[in-house]
Every structure is written in structure tokens, then in C-alpha cells.
């Protein structure tokens, strides 16, 4: 990997040259030789890997979709074919490494092969597909550490900070990216495992014990955690920065979070966002700014981002809205090419230097319609209209009168052939006029999602918190699809 300080100030032309060079080498020396899935695909489609010379040639490669990788009951080992692995099965055909033993001896070959050995594993959190493993070699762990270092560098975290990691523990990217970032930056830390693991009260105690300066959260749980802390009169005055991951952070929620921190004694807390995906094996930082959104800084020596028209698959121009397509260019373990993320970057890909920090690496727009837990059914057919469930998030999270909420989709009379129904559970803030709120919500939901709510059901905060599984689930169940199949 390149030195971040140098890479992040390199002119784009040079970055592109670097990416082209890395892509060429990766295609010829890794993908074609050791990736069972892609080497078969290239042969099948008669694509010469040596002809993929630059980013512009990527269009000759087919897209990879989630269902190409996700294991099924019939093919539980599917994901294994995406692992770059010069093991016996593959090297028998491409015995380049075997030849090495003639010159350098068996031990050298073993060492070389060990470089590819998976040592660490993450899973996707998908709901529609089975969890898909993405594996890391020892070399890849250095990459995820370096990516973490870059993330903390953009967020201006230093070795004087103390970071509390409140992501739920799981073999998922969010928790581990935070862990490896801390390791590389050498910053003091506490990897709590989240409220589900240690309990919300113990987590608050840990905050007061450690007096951290930085906390890392899933937005929904953070909002709940802070409200509880305010109720208990806790002192979180040490907090300076908070990073979110795992979900989109609507602007309204940022304001609410800052306000809660004020009540806990922390003034001017910087709310920062990250974007990550299991398939890319890293997460990227949004350029910190109190007012404007400058996009997420990418790592061009590890990957290539394209933005394409979700329908036609054609590349869209710089800064134009499009689906994010991801290509690995320097990984071992699991590596994917032209992976269709399903995430739509509203402001597209930006290649000019960041107006905020001056870093020159490509940026992807801050406004991403995140897939997270909703993407799988984000364009669900409800009442015969396609609705974008993503739109509930900014509306509900940012609404000043709402504490907690949940959306539930059902079938009338629980009959699979009957009408779809959509219910909104709302725990309003104290002293809010419910009638007014209901009318406001009905109108705004219709405006933002083009669907009329069947009903709005008012509940207490603890009721909705328990329905969401805030302290029991890995991720809260914000949108429930309870329609029988």
C-alpha cells in the first residue's frame, strides 16, 4: 500500500496511473491465476486478462452480483470460489508456484502459499441472502489496519484520544474495522461489544470510568443510549467526536445527537460518518465538517469505484447519480470485481481535490441510499407501488417530535393474497399533540415515500425500544416485513 500522507496529496492523474498499474498486475498475477470464479469466467467469456489495462477497460468485465457470491443450500461453498488461493486444487492447473520450489526450495513455496492463507473472517449481514463469508489473509489484515489508520487520520484522531467502540460484537466489518484502526493508530480503546454484550448501564459506567474522547456507534442505538444517559444524569463531558457506521445518518439525527451531548456536558461534539461494505473489506471516512457534506474519502490504491446507471449498467459521469460498483485491486483472501453494491450515490463520484481538507483521493458522495438492512427490500412492492423505505429514515430520525419509531408491513387479515398494510409505531416526545403529529406524519410519509399509512399507532418509548430489540438484537429491527410469503 502507498503511504497515505503521500497518496492523499497525489494529483489525480498520478492516482489513476497507479490504479491502472495495480489493476493490470492484479488481473494478471492474482485474479486470473488464483481466483477460481473469475479465472473460469474470463475463460468462458474469452476475455484476455492482459487486455484489462486500465480503469476504462473495466467495462469489458461483467458485473458481479450479490447472488453470484452468496451461499445457497445447494451450493454452500460458493463464496470459496472468490478466494484468491494458490492451493493444490488451483495450482495443479497453474503450477507457477510449484516451479518456484526448483529454485528456492519447498520452504519458500510454503511461505509464499501461507501469504494467501485466510486468517480472519467477516460475514455479510444480509437478510435476503445467506450470510456470505469474506476472508482476510495476514497481508489483508495489514490493509484493514492501514485503512483504519487512514479513517482515523481523516477524523483527526490522535494517540492522545481514548476511543470507545460501541458497535455490537459480531464477525462483521464495523466492529473489526474499528478494532484494527485502533491497533494501527495505536490509540487507547475499549471494545465494549455494544449494549447487547455489556448492557447499557455497564456501558454508561464504562464511559464515566474511562472518560473517552471518541465514541463509535450505530446511530439508532446511540440515540437511545444518549437519551437514557440524559435521564440518568450522566457526565459524558469528555466526548469530542462521535463516529457512526452501519447506517445512514440523516442530518436531523446529527442535530438531535449534538443536542443530547450538550445535555450530557459535551459541547460542540463533531458527528462523523463512515461508509463501509463487507465486500470491500474496509470502511471509508466522511470528510469532517460541521456544515457541509464533502463525501467519503476513498483508498485508490486498494479499490476502484465506478458509478453506473442502475438500469442500463452504463457508466455515468463524474458527480452524476449512480449505483456504486466496487472493484478490488490489491487484496488476497476474498476479492470481487465490478461488484454491484445496490447503493445509490446521489452526488456520484468526485475526482477533484476535497474543498474541505484538500486531499486528492477520489470521493463518493455523502448522500448514499444505504442498503444496510433495508436495501434487500428497499424497493418493496407494497400496495402495488414501489416504495423506497430508505426515506423513512431521514424523516423519522430527524423529526423533532419523535423519540422512537418502527415500521411494520403486514397483510390484511394475515392473508397472503389480501391487501398490503403499512403501520407506523411512534413514541412521541412528551407533551406533543398526538393528533397534530399524526396528521403531519401521514402527510410527510405520503410525500416522501408515496404510500398512505394504514395507521399510526402511538406507544411508549420502552414499548418501541423493546419492539426494536435495541438491547437484544445485533441491529435494531427498524423496518419489519411481517407479510406472510
Amino acid at each position: 500500500m502507498e503511504k497515505w500522507e503521500k497518496l492523499s496529496r497525489m494529483p489525480y492523474k498520478q492516482i489513476k496511473e497507479l490504479q491502472d498499474k495495480k489493476l493490470r498486475a492484479f488481473m494478471a498475477n492474482q485474479i486470473y491465476l488464483y481466483s477460481p470464479y473469475y479465472s473460469n469466467l474470463l475463460k468462458e467469456l474469452k476475455i484476455d486478462p492482459l487486455k484489462i489495462k486500465s480503469i476504462d477497460d473495466l467495462r469489458h468485465l461483467p458485473f458481479t452480483y450479490k447472488w453470484d457470491i452468496a451461499p445457497t443450500d445447494e451450493e454452500p461453498q460458493k463464496a470459496k470460489d472468490f478466494i484468491i488461493r494458490p492451493d493444490e486444487e488451483v495450482t495443479e492447473k497453474y503450477g507457477h508456484l510449484a516451479k518456484m520450489s526448483m529454485t528456492s526450495g519447498k520452504a519458500a513455496v510454503e511461505e509464499k502459499i501461507y501469504d494467501f492463507k485466510p486468517v480472519h473472517i467477516h460475514f455479510t449481514t444480509g437478510r435476503t441472502a445467506m450470510p456470505t463469508p469474506f476472508v482476510y489473509s495476514k497481508r489483508d489484515l495489514d490493509h484493514i489496519r492501514e485503512a483504519g489508520y487512514r479513517l482515523l487520520d481523516v477524523f483527526e484522531v490522535t494517540t492522545d484520544d481514548i476511543v470507545v467502540n460501541c458497535f455490537p460484537f459480531a464477525p462483521h466489518l464495523a466492529f473489526w474495522q474499528t478494532f484494527f484502526a485502533g491497533e494501527k493508530m495505536d490509540v487507547a480503546n475499549f471494545h465494549s461489544g455494544g449494549g447487547k454484550i455489556v448492557g447499557t448501564k455497564n456501558l454508561m459506567d464504562a464511559f464515566e470510568y474511562l472518560r473517552p474522547t471518541v465514541a463509535v456507534f450505530i446511530p439508532g442505538y446511540c440515540y437511545y443510549f444518549l437519551r437514557e444517559a440524559v435521564k440518568q444524569g450522566r457526565d459524558f463531558s469528555s466526548i469530542k467526536k462521535i463516529f457512526f457506521g452501519g447506517e445512514r445518518v440523516p442530518p436531523g439525527l446529527k442535530d438531535k445527537i449534538k443536542e443530547l451531548f450538550k445535555q450530557l456536558g459535551a459541547e460542540e461534539v463533531m458527528v462523523l460518518a463512515t461508509y463501509g461494505m463487507t465486500e470491500a473489506k474496509v470502511a471509508w471516512p466522511e470528510c469532517p465538517s460541521h456544515e457541509e457534506y464533502h463525501g467519503y474519502h476513498l483508498y485508490p490504491d486498494l479499490e476502484i469505484f465506478e458509478t453506473v446507471d442502475p438500469e442500463s449498467g452504463e457508466s455515468v459521469g463524474e458527480g452524476e447519480e449512480g449505483e456504486i460498483v466496487y472493484t478490488s485491486i490489491d487484496w488476497r483472501g476474498t476479492a470481487v470485481l465490478r461488484y454491484r453494491t445496490g447503493d445509490i450515490a446521489k452526488g456520484g463520484l468526485m475526482l477533484e481535490p476535497c474543498p474541505n481538507c484538500g486531499r486528492t483521493v477520489p470521493r463518493i458522495s455523502s448522500n448514499i441510499q444505504r442498503k444496510s438492512e433495508l436495501k434487500e427490500f428497499s424497493m418493496t412492492k407494497v400496495k402495488g407501488t414501489l416504495i423506497n423505505l430508505n426515506n423513512f429514515f431521514p424523516l423519522m430520525m430527524g423529526h423533532p417530535d419523535i423519540e422512537e419509531w418502527q415500521v411494520e408491513m403486514r397483510k390484511r387479515n394475515d392473508d397472503p393474497y389480501d391487501m398490503d398494510e403499512i403501520y407506523l409505531y411512534v413514541a412521541p416526545k412528551e407533551n406533543v399533540d398526538r393528533e397534530k403529529l399524526a396528521a403531519d406524519l401521514k402527510q410527510k410519509v405520503l410525500r416522501d415515500t408515496e404510500v398512505s399509512l394504514t395507521d399510526i399507532i402511538f406507544k411508549t418509548v420502552p414499548e418501541v425500544v423493546s419492539q426494536l430489540g435495541m438491547e437484544t438484537e445485533l441491529k435494531e429491527k427498524r423496518i419489519l416485513d411481517n407479510r406472510p410469503n
Binding site: V119, I197, V198
Partner: protein, 474 residues
């Protein structure tokens, strides 16, 4: 910490000499100078650390109890009193000139060794969790302890394993993680049943064709018993490493039997023993050869739990630990609440020939020793023995026991779920008889549904399942 290949072959007198040196250094240069709690204790008890010449004098020092460590209701930062203060830059001496060439270089304390790096908690099985601070120095020690444990277990970078220890910000999870990362073996850090659930863990074991499974004993046995139900295979399984909970030889035997029953390739079972207070864990080369401690890190004493008198080699007693080479949280003569039934031995291991002191036998929990009121007066009830008895039985799938008080008299209520195919009446009758024979406590045995038992014991809710419930309002 020392070089392991040298230390693990060092004769006992040399180990003792090294420990004496580390201990007096710790006492004089760390505890007396920059440990807020012990500095006060020494003053209070009029102890002059300079007069403590070695470990033979340790008996003159007071014990530290878990209650001393606990955060206070109005002072959450009380455990910070057990953390070494960071020395000032001025204390860091320059390189000695001249004669230093012929003697040991004394550079003075390096402040970066004392700077807080990470926080782990005790498991909180018997009460509130206690925070333990780790500096970089401690993290290096934890990684080293992890590497040594893998060396003792015989695990290498060629191994593939499922780490099913429950995730918690505890030394036991993280030591296991660092063992795998530092060794370079392939590992899935599942976070245990609480995070992934049993089905996903078993599926991963099957898909990854993992030969090594690392897990708490109760959960391991239950997992192997339910393997068939989920339709997964464990044919590649060769070895199970038990840890984080009571793992008597009965659990080792049961795990072996279960591995055989599910068609595992091999049936090797090994054990690990973690003590949060020791800030690391120890491995056993093979069952019943004792947990191989790290004498350059922790000094272990075995004492009479009541009188506190230090016991002889091989005598059953409470494990007491003293830190010899740690930073962050540092403890002196800390009573762990664990009872080593085989005591401590210092002769070389007859199995692997390593010479480090070993903690022998089963590790019972003192908290599981109860005094019950019966018609004939007070009766001692060791619930560890009950756990042993229940583990050994092939016809019990899951269980728990409650201690209840009725009109001033105590009784035991044992609730069980038998394995499939077991005749319930026969099981209940057999258990009632065995209870009567083993324990002189009035007891009742009843059966319950699988769900009821799973929920009650918190199989996938707590770090380890809770099996004994003392319902008496004491």
C-alpha cells in the same frame, strides 16, 4: 516476559530466584512508588517494602479481595486506585555511562509502558464486573501468554479453528483472538452463541471443515448433542479446547464421548484456565497434567480459603495471584475465589517436561460452596460436585438447580431436560437416588421443557450458562 523456550525448561530453583527478583522489584519500584492503593495499604500496615527480601516474606503482606476492587456506588473510578500512575519523564534516566557496560543497564521507567491502552472486565459471574486496565506493556504480555498457550496446546498456523468463546470485553476472548492472530492460524471469531447462535456456529464449523473448536464446556457438549438436529457434520473435528467455565475431568470425558458419537476424526480434548485478575490465561498440555502458569508474569500461591495460611505443594486450596511483571492494573496477593483441587506443583510436567509451576485438578468456584439449613443443623453443599455429577451423566441434556428456603429449612430443587430417547421417570428416579447418596440435602427432582431450561440458564444470554440459583433471601 522471558524467552519461553528458555523459561519453560528452567529448573525450579532458577524460576524461584527469578520470581524473587521480579517480586521485590515490583514491590519497591512500582507498588511502593506509584500504586495509589498499595502505597496506602503499606502505610496503614506499617510495611516497609525494602524489608521484604523475597517471596518467602509474601505471607506478611495482606490479601486483596474482590470487594476491594469493585467500583463504589458513588465512585465508579475507584478501581483506578489499583492502576500504576504514569511516571514523569524525569524518572526516565539516560543510558548509564562507563561501568554500565559491565552491569545491567538501568534506564528507569518508560512512561509509555504505563499509558492506558485498553480495558477488559472480569466476567462478573458472581457479581459486578471489575475493570482491569491494560497498557501496551500488558498487551504485549497478553499476546505472549496467548502464544505460549498455543505452544502448550500444540496449535500452529496450519490449524483452522472456530473460536466460540462468548464475546465480552474480557481477557479470555482477547487472549484467544491474539493467540490465533499472532500464530497466524485461520480462525472465525464467532462471539459465541450469544452473538451468532448455535446453528450458525455449527454451520461454520461444517463449512470451514474446522478441525479445532474452542468453547465453554457446557456449550460444547450441548452443541455436539444438537449437531444432528441441525443436520451438520463434524467429521473434520479433531480437537476441542475447553475454557472460560468449570471444566472438570468429567466434562473432558463427556466431550470426548460426544466427539466420538458424532463421528469426529479425532477426540482430543484440552483445557484453558483464565483468571481475569491474572490478566491472562493458562493452558494444559493434556487433561489432568495441570495448567502451565507463566512464572515470569504471575506468582501463584495456594492458600486455605478460611485461614489464609499458605498450603504445601499439591494441597487443595484457593488460588491467590500476585503480579510480577504487569503495568496498568496491578494486584498483590489477590484471592481469586477459585479452588484448585490439586493445588500447585513445581516439579516438571511428566507429559511435556516443561518446568513451569502447574495448577492441578479441577478449578472449583468458592461461590458454589453453600451452607444449607436442614433438620439436623447446618449442612455443607458443594454445588461444584453437583455440576460434576450432572456433567458425567449421558441421559441429561440440560439442567439447573435452585436452593430454596421454606420455613427456615433449605432444600434443593433440580430441574432437568433429558436427552432424546431417555425415559423421564427413570431419569428422575435415578437422579433422586444419586442426589440422596451424594448430598445430605433434602432434594426434589423435576423435569422441564427444553425451552424452559434454556431460558432459565441463559444458554445464549450470559457469558456462560447459570446453573445454580440461590433463591434464599439471605
Amino acid at each position: 516476559m522471558q524467552a519461553w523456550n528458555k523459561l519453560s525448561r528452567m529448573p525450579a530453583p532458577a524460576i524461584k530466584k527469578m520470581q524473587d527478583e521480579l517480586f521485590t522489584k515490583m514491590l519497591r519500584e512500582e507498588l511502593a512508588v506509584r500504586h495509589p492503593y498499595y502505597r496506602e495499604v503499606f502505610k496503614e500496615h506499617d510495611i516497609n517494602p525494602d524489608l521484604i527480601k523475597g517471596l518467602e516474606d509474601i505471607k506478611h503482606l495482606p490479601f486483596t479481595e474482590k470487594k476491594d476492587l469493585l467500583p463504589r456506588e458513588n465512585d465508579l473510578r475507584h478501581p483506578k486506585k489499583f492502576v500504576l500512575e504514569v511516571p514523569s519523564e524525569g524518572e526516565k534516566k539516560g543510558k548509564k555511562k562507563g561501568f554500565a557496560l559491565f552491569g545491567k543497564k538501568d534506564k528507569g521507567p518508560d512512561p509509555s509502558d504505563y499509558k492506558f491502552h485498553t480495558l477488559y472486565f472480569s466476567a462478573g459471574r458472581t457479581g459486578k464486573p471489575v475493570p482491569f486496565e491494560y497498557t501496551h506493556y500488558d498487551l504485549r504480555n497478553l499476546k505472549e501468554a496467548g502464544l505460549r498457550a498455543f505452544d502448550i496446546l500444540g496449535l500452529t498456523r496450519d490449524d483452522t479453528m472456530i473460536n466460540a468463546f462468548t464475546y465480552a470485553p474480557n481477557a479470555f476472548f482477547w487472549q484467544m483472538f491474539y493467540s490465533t492472530i499472532e500464530t497466524g492460524s485461520t480462525a472465525l471469531q464467532t462471539g459465541g452463541g450469544k452473538v451468532l447462535g448455535m446453528e450458525k456456529i455449527l454451520k461454520a464449523m461444517d463449512n470451514m471443515e474446522a478441525p479445532v473448536f474452542v468453547c465453554a464446556p457446557g456449550y460444547t457438549i450441548f452443541a455436539l448433542q444438537t449437531l444432528d438436529h441441525f443436520g451438520f457434520s463434524a467429521e473434520n473435528l479433531e480437537r476441542v479446547v475447553l475454557g472460560i467455565d468449570y471444566a472438570p475431568m468429567e466434562a473432558v470425558e463427556k466431550a470426548r464421548k460426544m466427539m466420538e458419537a458424532v463421528g469426529a476424526k479425532d477426540t482430543k480434548v484440552q483445557r484453558l484456565y483464565f483468571i481475569a485478575e491474572a490478566k491472562s490465561g493458562w493452558a494444559e498440555c493434556d487433561p489432568d497434567y495441570g495448567y502451565h502458569t507463566n512464572p515470569d508474569h504471575i506468582y501463584v500461591e495456594i492458600v486455605d480459603p478460611e485461614s489464609g495460611a499458605v498450603l504445601d505443594e499439591g494441597e487443595k486450596g484457593e488460588v491467590v495471584i500476585t503480579h510480577l511483571d504487569t503495568r496498568g492494573t496491578v494486584l498483590l496477593r489477590c484471592k481469586t475465589g477459585d479452588i484448585a483441587t490439586g493445588g500447585l506443583v513445581t516439579e516438571p510436567c511428566p507429559n511435556c517436561k516443561r518446568t513451569v509451576p502447574r495448577i492441578m485438578g479441577d478449578i472449583e468456584r468458592k461461590a458454589y460452596y453453600y451452607e444449607l439449613h436442614s433438620n439436623e443443623g447446618p449442612v455443607q453443599f458443594n454445588a461444584n460436585q453437583l455440576r460434576k455429577m450432572m456433567t458425567a451423566r449421558d441421559d441429561v441434556l440440560l439442567w439447573y438447580a435452585e436452593i430454596n428456603r421454606d420455613r427456615g429449612l433449605d432444600n434443593l430443587n433440580l430441574v432437568v431436560k433429558g436427552t432424546s430417547g431417555t425415559d423421564e421417570d427413570t431419569l428422575l428416579k435415578a437422579l433422586a437416588e444419586e442426589l440422596q447418596k451424594e448430598f445430605s440435602v433434602p432434594a426434589n427432582v423435576e423435569s422441564a421443557s427444553l425451552d424452559a431450561v434454556v431460558n432459565k440458564i441463559g444458554l445464549e444470554k450470559y457469558i456462560t450458562a447459570q446453573l445454580i440459583f440461590d433463591n434464599r433471601d439471605l
